[in-house]
Symmetry: C2
Subunit: 313 residues, 2 copies
Amino acid sequence: MEKLCFGIDIGGTTVKLGLFTDKGELVDKWEIPTRKENSGSYILGDVAKSLEHKISERKLDKSQIVGIGAGVPGPVTGDGTVIECVNLGWSIINVANELKALTGFEAKVGNDANVAALGEMWQGGGKGYNSIVMVTLGTGVGGGVIVDGEIITGSNGAAGEVGHILVNYEEKEKCNCGKTGCLEQFASATGIVKEAKRLLSKSAEPSKLRDFDYLSAKSIFDCAKENDELALELVEQLGRYLGIALSHVAAVVDPQAFVIGGGVSKAGSILTDGIKKYYNQYVMLALKNKEFRLAELGNDAGIFGCARLILGH
Amino acid sequence: MEKLCFGIDIGGTTVKLGLFTDKGELVDKWEIPTRKENSGSYILGDVAKSLEHKISERKLDKSQIVGIGAGVPGPVTGDGTVIECVNLGWSIINVANELKALTGFEAKVGNDANVAALGEMWQGGGKGYNSIVMVTLGTGVGGGVIVDGEIITGSNGAAGEVGHILVNYEEKEKCNCGKTGCLEQFASATGIVKEAKRLLSKSAEPSKLRDFDYLSAKSIFDCAKENDELALELVEQLGRYLGIALSHVAAVVDPQAFVIGGGVSKAGSILTDGIKKYYNQYVMLALKNKEFRLAELGNDAGIFGCARLILGH
């Protein structure tokens, strides 16, 4: 009988669930809402019920299920304990033990950015490699470090927090983390737009960017592709900040490749080319000419990585 | 019969050798010169002869020896291959296979800075931890990253090259690596003295540092401890550069502790206090308040780490 596993990506709004074969094929995927009431105490019970329902709907035998992998939006220690997860309302909780108690299945738990990196390594933009660093450029900037096929979790679950690497010593505005000059302040979707507004207000140059009522990271890349000078300057600066941060990352773990994901990565090669240019300028010879790939799994990276937590061992 | 192993730290001038029990006690240590003639082709043969001699001198039974660990001053891949080792005259060579062929013992090989980090974790300043980053402040700045008791080697053997992290965007002089603004240019013994000379030439302030015919990193720390203003300024700047670089390192691997080694680390707590101050300013909350320890094994860190390569598995 075919062996299967579940990948469960628990987000602040929805829980994404996937049923995978042990070869890594996604057989079925679905979502349930994340109920955050009562300090998030319904979430894992809802997940267990949804799995139970899927098992009976597809007439699966419980012995086929080799385990559950789960991703959560917060730091997770090696044994599956979440210390605090503001987005879900959780304080300290061992998610792996809870899931096992609720479902009877073996469970492994990781941080959402880390499991997304694992998913991209396994079946996405990092396929073919076993040591990658993924950077997710979305509302914020997240990251995940995979070495020899394993997530580097960190002693406080804070490894791979590349969004909070210092890249600008002069910045005065504060990052969400409380520091100043973090990569996230310049390379997140929000940060890119903020920088555009700054540049537009201090420059007198004409730019198509001035015609937008609502500026987005996408509009900036679109204008850059049409050779708008100010937009090109912004994309150049973005490449420089990311190139600097990833040069630091490379000097620590020397990965085979970088995978760039998140909404901002839809810009494509104009983004990765800009990063490469500065990255190669800021690293020593032994670290030059790494692969820079685009993420491929989109919102499914999490459930793939969750499944891999179980199937990789 | 007691199990034993050899730790062999191959340097550009001497090879340090140690005989260890499987509990990690150093039973005997000695040195032989590194013969670099003929592209370093005598080195491993000399090592094999020296081990043979030690085995007969101490009347050991070869079956007692569980293996050999070796450290070399250059990048080493996971299978023990050295791509290039300028200091020894070697081009591509699988050191693990060569040592096994010459001695009959199982052999493992690592980069010298990485094995020193492993040694300090095992029996030195990082004892009690299993995830540390060691930074060696000597003629250059080296580093080693240990996660869950294992060296992170990197895909090109260049993980842990913290000396070549960019910390100063304005620097015009070139680092030995060909880039500009590397940590090594400011935090190596050479870099510290170079910065002192710069400051002395641009400042008119009186300073005891002006009385030295030959300035050394030690003299700068000594003057700082006597509250010499310019010396204090130099120590402050050193702490800032190291704090910045280690904040980047922490965001990637989130170690339990940092271990500071090399000749410069003899300065003691005045150095680690300075690093801590800036480190805590540049990291996010989850990464604050790490331990900063001083290395304890000195020149023996390498042979300890080499032994651990064999005994840790």
